[in-house]
Symmetry: D2
Subunit: 504 residues, 4 copies
């Protein structure tokens, strides 16, 4: 397989699913990694852990001396890092559990100070503020202080990003699920949010003149439309394309989020025309043909930064960057995959197996067309035939079937994107990401990704989330607060076609 | 005056005292700046402030929705920044007071949650952790959230550094001194500490090939031994010298702390031989003559980062850097000024005016020598004569007087550095800085700074704080916890000579 | 095929033979390119050419006004460049012929000045020097002046390098072979020699952090041991490897000569251990294992710079660079291919076809061994069998045959390298290159390149040319002046074994 | 004096006059340097020289082996460089004389080949070309070959540039003036012209972010309007200013020619408004106020590159650069000093001393006005009074005198620039430089440089040479070939006023 040479050049296994993990805010499924977490360490390991934690995760200084306490020597932090790195994977869960339980806050002290605070309520403001500040200080877990020290050591920040990736996997695989470990995770996340605050990130444009080291990582991290070889890669950074990444001073040479943009006349409705078109590889850009910026791939590279908002900010910075390069550019839109649509559809169809057909999915006439196109098979229920067609992607080889299925799949897809929810927000992680950013679900595109992967994942359908710059703030707030989805006429039309039939 | 050309090239006034402010942890005195803070804004300004704060410092999202709340649009943060920048200096104090009072925590909510926490004490751990986390969240001031948003905007971090400089000045000048404004200051300091965590700083070596922009700033910020002209400056980055600075991604082109190092055979005892010696300006370094690294100047450039530990880390990073360049280098030491010694001495002497002499300061014989050298002046008490001599520096012109005063001034100086305290720590800010870092008070040097400035500040005396690398951790902890000062035989000998006479 | 992705990413066809062209100083054979040169342009093209040349290749200013003549406007040079670039390949030969004939020197003026010079022989020195200088000036061809102007235009130098590549191809393919065109070539070569003087070249170390643009070119230009993919490429610039190139200010981003070096314990005798060994891809270099620098590939990238000495200087600069990085490094050697050995051997064997055997090539016993190993084929002469074996490389699959052939092929190869000459210099271009540089033919290595390519080109044999630094000057002079080849005992031993048998 | 600090930072003495040397093509006057050249070396030095030259300036290889001759080892070139550098200044002239005489061409060989060439005149072209090429080769001086070798050594090119500076000084001071040494100079100049061909130069924009090393040199080399301090310097590279330099790969960090440009609304008529105006030091450039580019200073830095055209090309490259930054910019002009005008004027006036007045310089009425303004001094001739006024610049303090002198000085200056010639070209070196480049003498400006220096050199007058881009080629050719000066109406008007009076 042609893509191997590139892939193999980089150690570490496929990270294809990482961006999903980031975008939908859900833990990655346990099947991804195949690690097994051991619930408790061996006794010997256990005593070594205790001994280490006692040494490195020391109690906080008293409130009075908090500004007069020297940090521990760097060697302490390095010892902690080496110890953790040296653990077998299955022992890490146990270690982190212990850290979260033994090195959290001092509950007794907290409740004492809470009681004191209640006593001060009638007192003057200065006294109340004091009491609050003491209480706040007592609520600082010891491990937070430890992480702060680690962050000061060379390589410490990257270490903590990777440690959080472990934590997320532990939580996802239920290897450990105590409230303590969830607290540990949220403390670490909030520290990382400070360190990876947008003000501290650097926007870099990646070109063919960028270091090979970076470009290889770009190639490796591209999860949405895999890069197969040098020509592919050169294309992504060549004329009519832009590639941007956020980097961070504490992790030099490491792109954190990568955004690929195509510069086009109209809003693109097909991904192959972007990633497989090489006619323009050495062209000079004609500024008159550049009206639209199409975000056709965005990938997060650090599992441990899940939930730390980067992608959203990257899109906004890139929009500013492009506006200053092309002052008249007016159209900004994604061209996005719809991972999960096929699976969802097959799940749906399998519910109709017994019934034979799902009369609320397809109309009678549509079922008839499908059966005719398939060549009716008396023993098999139509829903089952359709399910198999979708699973194999064979329908794409028949013009007739394609024509018959287009209206059906389009309205089902519209519903999947617009109507299917998880805790009130879009089930589809990519949709959820762009809607949070304030984009509008703008156009669903048939035959937009005709690669085997595209057919398998989403019946070849893709969607544009469009960024109307003066509406994104409002859209974002509406979505996050009222769960309202901004959508175009086309999308709403397809949704209402679906609803007419469906009893869902 | 020769130094003008350089100084004038940079806007902004003298910052000579800034490094002191950073090193001793004390607010700069109000006489430095000459601003006047107005205690309360005018009514009209006042209503504009209220209106703005209501808009930009919004309440925190509820605990449940805290991860689902979109950040406000950037324009909100920019509006806040522009508003604040547009205020007259005297209105800033009022504005910050209001911010600290109106946009802190919701005390009622805090006390409710404190009460709830107390109720959960018998419940299971998960419940307790929940209650603690809600309480912790409620203790987040609204302005903290505001500052986080500001930090995400281009230039936002620098804005907050400067805002904190204003806060410190307000506190120092007592323009406002409410507990609220102290809380505001400490919240901002802790945010800055995260953002300027050492892991996020970049060590840069400054050379003659560095951008002029940087070198001019180095020249401007050098507070300890002012740089007079290009030759001076070239000297500081030339052979047998090193100049290092920490920079930060969010403030490009801005050195945050600057450390000047001289590479010498022996531990230097005279500053002129370092900053005024140009023989080696074009020499090739002879590695065999490099045994010692002398830190002869360290300057902090950002008043707003007071209390954010940078200098200490810079020295340690530089030591590592030098060790990798010169593996056999074994001696690391400062050659430090003693600001305040002369003032302290004059204060002391003026107490003895009536008595005529201070018999516990100088022995009878020493007083006699001084009187003889001065030419006794029947009407003037000897202590007064001595005070004047010190004030004018005239004694340096008489060999006889110099000889007579050397033992006296040396032991007084040793005492000043070693024995004079403020809240138990060294009164002298430079001493306090190096002792906190774990250095040893190693050698007091006579005729070490013969410049008019050196004579005026510290009778020409300087001191080496020596860094014994395997003792700094222990020294630092001992000093900070038990206030014990590590000192050499020479220093202790001088101190005990002083104590023999003195009744202090 | 795996190597395609990389190769395809670069426009332009294979340049595999270019380095040979440079090293042996011979024109590339016409079969390489497949261009056809047309001997004369069409009439219409012809008149356009004349018109252009009259305009751009103007006569030289008179001797008196030569310093007072303004250069023509840039547009003139650009017009010439565009005209030439626009020509069909087959018309370029005609155009260059015309340029060389019509725009050379004014023969009449030259002979007049030569006569005048003879007249001055009895006169004073000043007069003679004058006459010589006038004569010298008159010997400047008009096209030289034109080239000077072109070199001043952006892209002009690269244009002339490419034009010379055309010239060399024309000469090689005999498309034109007039003395004029040879003069044109030698004038251009001497101009390029000035512009590409070593003092104007920049040594760059290529690493994984170099621009992708450069690394892709390195990959493409590697002619000796082709780079197949990213991992291969990363290996060439990773630990225990160095890659250096000369670049030139007038052709930014374009490596001119590339040298690949392996850092090893002993002098390497096998190329696969260098280009196919990935164990150390992420290793830290252990300086104690680095005693030798092995130049295992050197490639010239600009056909038009043939004869402009670059490779020699690059090796010398790299030696200096390595000595400063590894002061104790003492062994410098190439590990070189032997292109042409198999062809030469097959040619030799085919001469013995009639005779059946070549008794002066193999001893009777050797022939017997070969016949036995092959399985004697009564109808086929032994020499012919051997020839086929060599042609197909099949002998490598039989341990027996390998053992039988090793002594034979080794001594034949030694002779080929040491004894076969062209105009007195080594016939093998790589040998000639290193001998000119002053290297010693040091060791011939069996099974040194077991790749199909290595077996096909040189029966898997490779050779070390060793650089004894304090002998290279002398060796170089001896070789160039007396054609004496410096060789080791091993090589001389093999040669004398060969000579014992041979009547060659 | 304020400018000292900067000046002192750089070793080496004033180079203020160097640019003049370059622009007027005349040797610098001997009074500039104060070196004394010794006509002949001592006997012992002499024999060391001979010995060295025999070793390093070896005869050229024979024509047949010229491509097969190895270059000498680098050590030979380094030895030559060290020897020369080690010579006392007064011995260098002797050494270069010897080099030029002993290591030139072989006159006998040349005349033999000239004779042979004459013999071939009836033969075929190939034979003639051969003979010409042999003759050409024989005309190569041995020292040319030596210089080529030197240029290949690190630092070699810079060495040769400095050696040529010595040569020019020798010629200027007549320390040696043989035809041989003039040949040596012209050979070296032509080599330097190849190496410093514009295609090999790099245009760099100098900003406040450029290396301090470069900016200090810019400051030091600015000969036209000296830079006094950092603020001055920052101004030159700040908003509404551009500073460009050519650099060369062989002399890194060394600007070769520097051009200062001011971006203005109208064509500037006063230099103080450019170099002393600091209002805009931190302004943002308003693109609508930028219509003109004013070249207000151009300085050559390498005395040894005299006659190698750089300034002309720099102006043209900068025009292109500015046009691409400001597509609508339409006016390009210098604002140039007029060095030599005052001296010329005083010379003129001193001729009229006896006569008392120069009736052809000033009209009777003008003389009367002058006398009245001065306060008539019966004993002193009016011409003499005027001469003294010009010499001291005192007239600028009297409004009346200024008014009286304005028309007089303006028309005399116009004549000086337009009418005074040396070998037919403008006597004033700056005028000659711009006229060669094809500029038009556009406007003479009263009170244009009111600095003491400006008043002393040119009575405060400056001149704009304007570059009309589509006329420069033609103007340049006309000037160089027919010595015709392009001038505006204003200039021609002033010239004709002058001519009406004058009998000159």
């Amino acid at each position: 397989m042609i893509s191997n040479p590139i892939a193999r050049a980089v150690r570490g296994s496929a990270r294809c699913w990482r961006h999903r993990a980031v975008f939908n805010g859900l833990p990655v499924s346990s099947s991804v990694s195949g690690w097994r977490w051991r619930s408790a360490p061996t006794r010997r390991a256990s005593s070594a852990m205790e001994e280490l934690l006692a040494r490195v995760a020391v109690p906080l200084p008293s409130y009075e001396t908090r500004d007069k306490s020297p940090p521990p020597p760097e060697s302490t932090s390095l010892e902690f890092m080496n110890f953790y790195r040296g653990l077998e994977k299955e022992d890490k869960a146990g270690f982190l559990s212990r850290l979260s339980q033994d090195c959290g806050v001092d509950h007794r002290a907290v409740s004492d100070l809470a009681a004191k605070l209640l006593d001060t309520q009638r007192r003057d403001q200065a006294t109340i503020l004091q009491a609050e500040d003491r209480l706040r200080y007592s609520l600082t877990p010891r491990y937070k202080q430890l992480f702060s020290h680690v962050s000061r050591v060379p390589g410490g920040v990257k270490f903590l990003v990777d440690l959080r990736a472990d934590l997320l996997e532990i939580l996802a695989t239920k290897a450990s699920d105590s409230p303590h470990i969830r607290d540990l995770n949220s403390t670490l996340k909030s520290l990382l949010s400070e360190w990876f605050s947008v003000g501290l990130l650097r926007l870099e444009r990646i070109t063919w003149g960028s270091p090979c080291e970076i470009l290889q990582k770009i190639s490796q991290y591209e999860a949405v439309h895999p890069i197969r070889n040098w020509t592919d890669l050169k294309r992504r950074v060549g004329p009519y394309r832009r590639c941007f990444a956020f980097t961070h001073g504490a992790m030099p040479g490491e792109p954190l989020v990568v955004l690929h943009v195509a510069l086009t006349e109209d809003i693109a409705d097909n991904i192959q025309s972007i990633v497989r078109e090489f006619a323009t590889l050495d062209a000079e850009e004609d500024i008159n043909k550049i009206n639209s910026a199409i975000f056709y791939s965005i990938s997060s590279t650090q599992a441990g930064l899940q939930g730390v908002e980067l992608g959203n900010y990257l899109i906004k910075r890139v929009v500013r960057e492009l506006q200053s390069e092309f002052p008249h550019m007016a159209q900004f839109s994604s061209l996005s995959p719809i991972p999960g649509f096929s699976s969802w559809l097959q799940g749906l169809l399998s519910q109709y197996r017994k019934e034979g057909r799902g009369s609320d999915l397809l109309s009678e006439q549509e079922w008839a067309e499908v059966e005719q196109a398939v060549g009716s098979n008396p023993g098999t229920p139509a829903a089952d035939s359709l399910r198999k067609l979708v699973a194999t992607g064979e329908w794409t080889r028949s013009e007739k079937l394609s024509l018959a299925l287009e209206p059906v799949l389009m309205r089902l897809c519209a519903w999947y994107l617009y109507g299917e929810k998880r805790r009130g927000f879009a089930l589809n992680p990519v949709a959820n990401f762009h809607l949070q950013n304030g984009a509008t679900m703008w156009r669903i595109n048939w035959r937009a990704d005709t690669s085997p992967r595209g057919v398998a994942n989403s019946c070849g359908i893709m969607v544009n989330y469009r960024y109307f710059l003066n509406e994104t703030s409002r859209n974002s707030a509406l979505y996050l607060q009222s769960k309202a989805v901004a959508a175009s006429e086309q999308v709403l039309g397809l949704v209402s076609q679906f609803q007419k039939n469906s009893k869902l």
